[in-house]
């Protein structure tokens, strides 16, 4: 359990205080909960950090500060509908008032609400590591284990077609899978969060027609590391769900765009 708490006034102060035994604390829904797996001697609260909670539109891109809450995203006129839909997967309004986009990414949960959609649209993260500011594709970020960097912002494209689905027993339950599909010029990019397994990404080329049988067969045989039977379902169930969901999302994109996959 953490013993000290630092209230950073800005991102530079937060990153200066970041040592190995410290962890960033954003909205608190992950770190403050009972049974949190985050272990740190010191917590660096970002709650009072200036400049991390704005939403700005820049041409076809939307820049979202990492401390924007899920509810900020839902209420903003500048945030694309696909991201609002994913934010609403968090059913509890009281939790949406607290949970932040940056915190949800950094937690890298296998049942993340936002990672699938952000990975599918290839969101760019603005990171601060020491004095270094850099931009990194979210798909690279989630596969790294460098926890010393601070996410200061997320940039997402505005005009991209996206379809998402989340499967859970109830609106409040942890999802067994959350999947998003984004249509790009070359392909459809699928990203999925599988509970207790992780985030997986796939590119589906636009050559040939996708059938439900083909999608189910693909996921039946695809090598997925760490997938196992658990209280959320058997491996067979999860693989089947991945297959039919991938098919459903692609079908939805085709219906909306007229493009074949």
């Amino acid at each position: 359990m953490a013993k000290t708490l630092l209230m950073a006034k800005n991102a530079a102060e937060a990153i200066d205080a970041k040592i190995a035994s410290a962890a960033f604390l954003a909205g608190g829904t992950e770190v403050n909960r009972l049974g949190s797996t985050v272990e740190a001697e010191t917590l660096i609260s970002l709650k009072k950090c200036e400049g991390l909670n704005s939403i700005k539109k820049d041409g076809d891109k939307v820049h979202i500060g990492s401390m924007c809450t899920f509810q900020d995203i839902v209420e903003s006129e500048d945030v694309p509908a696909y991201l609002k839909e994913a934010a609403l997967f968090m059913a509890s309004r009281t939790k949406r008032n607290m949970a932040t986009i940056g915190g949800n990414i950094a937690a890298r949960r296998s049942d993340s609400y936002l990672l699938p959609v952000l990975c599918a649209v290839d969101a760019e993260l603005s990171l601060l590591t020491g004095d270094l500011e850099e931009s990194k594709n979210i798909n690279l970020y989630i596969n790294e284990e460098n926890d010393d960097s601070l996410i200061t912002g997320i940039t997402v494209p505005e005009s991209v077609q996206v379809a998402s689905k989340r499967y859970a027993n109830t609106a409040q339950s942890h999802a067994v899978i959350t999947m998003s599909a984004a249509s790009t010029a070359e392909c459809v990019k699928l990203a999925v969060a599988v509970k207790n397994t992780g985030i997986l990404s796939f590119n589906l080329s636009s050559s040939g027609r996708l059938t439900e049988e083909a999608a189910v067969a693909f996921f039946k045989n695809y090598e997925i590391k760490d997938i196992e039977d658990d209280m959320f379902g058997s491996v067979d169930y999860k693989r089947y769900l991945l297959g039919i969901t991938a098919y459903d999302l692609c079908k939805q994109l085709i219906a909306e765009s007229g493009k074949e996959v």
Binding site: L5, T29, N32, R33, S92, T94, Q172
Partner: protein
């Protein structure tokens, strides 16, 4: 290493207060232990059940995962703050009683505070929006219908739609009378 303490200055139920708290303490702990505001319930402590809900600067939050030190300078309302000076119940509290929306009562303070935020917003929610707005709370007794009806009726009454509020049936659906037949 010694524990770290800080002084928090905030307003609780309209009263300005200062309190020394452990920096790791949740707002639930501060409200219950230091101010005996026991309407703030400790339920799941992971932010799922909504029993610990309080209003902070006009919005509902799960106080179990909200650090007490974050309350610095904030205006906090708990269920105790909704009653009048003589202990009179607010309209939303009375509606919960009238509609049988309370059984064991554990979830009620949280539900009532979120409902208070809803009815104070001054806008008319659709049934679907209302259900979604209440979905951050878990109730193991009532089956939710009575709670939904209490909130919907209070919302309509606050909007001056008293007659419409009386048309809300036991399932929470507004049953409009058949239109007048043509003569």
């Amino acid at each position: 290493m010694d524990n770290q303490y800080k002084v928090v200055h905030c307003t609780i139920n309209g009263k300005e207060v200062s309190q020394i708290v452990d920096v790791r303490a949740s707002l639930t702990d501060m409200l219950r232990n230091d101010y005996r505001l026991t309407s703030v319930k400790k339920g799941c402590e992971v932010g799922e059940c909504g029993a610990c809900t309080v209003i902070i600067n006009g919005e509902s939050f799960n106080s179990c995962i909200y650090l007490a030190v974050w309350a610095e300078g904030k205006e906090i309302w708990t269920l105790e703050g909704l009653t009048g000076p003589g202990g009179e119940l607010s309209d939303i509290q009375q509606a919960f009683i009238d509609e049988g929306a309370i059984q064991c009562g554990f979830c009620s303070p949280g539900f009532i505070l979120t409902s208070w935020e809803i009815v104070n917003s001054g806008r008319e929610y659709t049934d679907d929006e209302l259900r979604k707005a209440l979905s951050g709370h878990l109730c193991r007794c009532t089956g939710y219908e009575n709670i939904f009806r209490a909130v919907k009726k209070t919302m309509l009454r606050r909007l001056g739609k008293n007659e419409e509020a009386e048309l809300v049936n036991s399932q929470g659906i507004t049953e409009y009378p058949d239109p007048m037949p043509f003569k």
